[in-house]
């Protein structure tokens, strides 16, 4: 492979991850709700890219279909439905925003301190590679979908079926909640 391409490919995960975080920041801090949705879309696309670099191809495609294809459009519908201009003068953030940010930063510092101890420890820069005996069922690039379907339908059939029931409940519940009231 082209050496430049190879050296970029090494850092693809970092690029996609930083894109995801940038999209998330745009989502939280933009004034316009449509801009927030665009940030959300960028974040979801970048997370799909992260899945690709982690060689979870099926999940990446599912992420694109479910989030970029479905959920973003749902959010757009509702934002168009709700008249946002009414709330313009009310201010973007809650009154307790200062304390909330302080609490989040405190939690982040706690977790970062845990990170700090592992960051320079043994195995810190160990790449995520598989032992040959473990990689059997998950032959990444070629058989990812087969491996997932085997795991899903053989090992985790019950959660899968329960999820289908949950989706049915959500379908009916959304229709019941959103339909106009008739008394």
């Amino acid at each position: 492979m082209d050496p430049l391409l190879a050296s970029i490919g090494q850092y693809l995960f970092h690029i996609f991850g930083l894109m995801a975080v940038a999209g998330a920041l745009a989502l939280v801090f933009s004034k316009n709700a449509i801009h927030s949705i665009v940030g959300f879309l960028l974040s979801m696309l970048a997370v799909a890219g992260c899945y690709l670099t982690l060689s979870a191809e099926f999940l990446a495609v599912a992420q694109l279909l479910v989030y970029a294809g479905g959920i973003v459009v749902l959010f757009l519908f509702v934002v168009m439905l709700v008249e946002m201009t009414k709330f313009k003068e009310k201010g973007l953030f809650q009154s307790q925003a200062k304390w909330a940010v302080a609490a989040v930063l405190a939690g982040a510092v706690v977790i970062l301190s845990v990170f700090w101890s592992t960051w320079f420890g043994p195995g810190a820069s160990q790449a995520l590679t598989l032992g040959p005996e473990l990689g059997q069922g998950l032959d990444m690039a070629t058989q990812n979908a087969q491996a997932i379907s085997r795991g899903l339908y053989a090992g985790y059939l019950l959660p899968f079926e329960i999820l289908s029931v949950i989706l049915l409940v959500a379908l009916v519940g959304a229709v019941v909640l959103a339909k106009t009231e008739r008394v």
């Binding site: 970092h14 991850g17 930083l18 995801a20 975080v21 998330a24 989502l27 939280v28 709700a33 959300f40 974040s43 979801m44 992260c50 899945y51 670099t53 979870a56 099926f58 999940l59 479910v66 959920i71 959010f75 509702v78 934002v79 709700v82 709330f87 009310k90 973007l92 809650q94 307790q96 909330a100 940010v101 609490a103 939690g107 982040a108 990170f115 810190a124 820069s125 160990q126 790449a127 995520l128 032992g131 473990l134 990689g135 069922g137 998950l138 997932i148 795991g151 899903l152 090992g155 985790y156 959660p159 999820l163 989706l167 959500a170 519940g173 229709v175 909640l177 959103a178 106009t180 009231e181």
Partner: protein, 100 residues
């Protein structure tokens, strides 16, 4: 292949931004999107650990979480629409019917 720490760190950043968004924003739609963001951070961790352990369980569970997130968004948006019809607002600090 990225290192485990990089994946965990990105996922940690995404989760922190999600928590901050849920706590500080007034708009309930933005709050729902931030919840989605947190679910995605958890998914990223699941995929990374699936890669680490070499089993497919993490990826399968990430797929299940994705389906659950879709269900949650549909219910949440239906609630938002119903609330907007009833209270004519989507600002969470004005939704205080339970305050008594």
């Amino acid at each position: 292949m990225p290192s485990m720490n990089a994946v965990l760190f990105i996922s940690f950043l995404l989760f922190s931004v999600g928590v901050a968004g849920v706590l500080i924003r007034r708009n309930v739609l933005i709050i729902l999107m931030c919840v989605e963001l947190m679910l995605n951070a958890a998914n990223l961790n699941l995929v990374a650990f699936a890669r680490h352990s070499g089993t497919v369980a993490g990826q399968a569970f990430a797929l299940l979480v994705m389906g659950l997130a879709a269900a949650e968004v549909s219910i949440g948006l239906a609630l938002v629409v119903a609330l907007y019809r009833k209270k004519d607002t989507i600002q969470v600090d004005q939704i205080n019917l339970l305050k008594g």
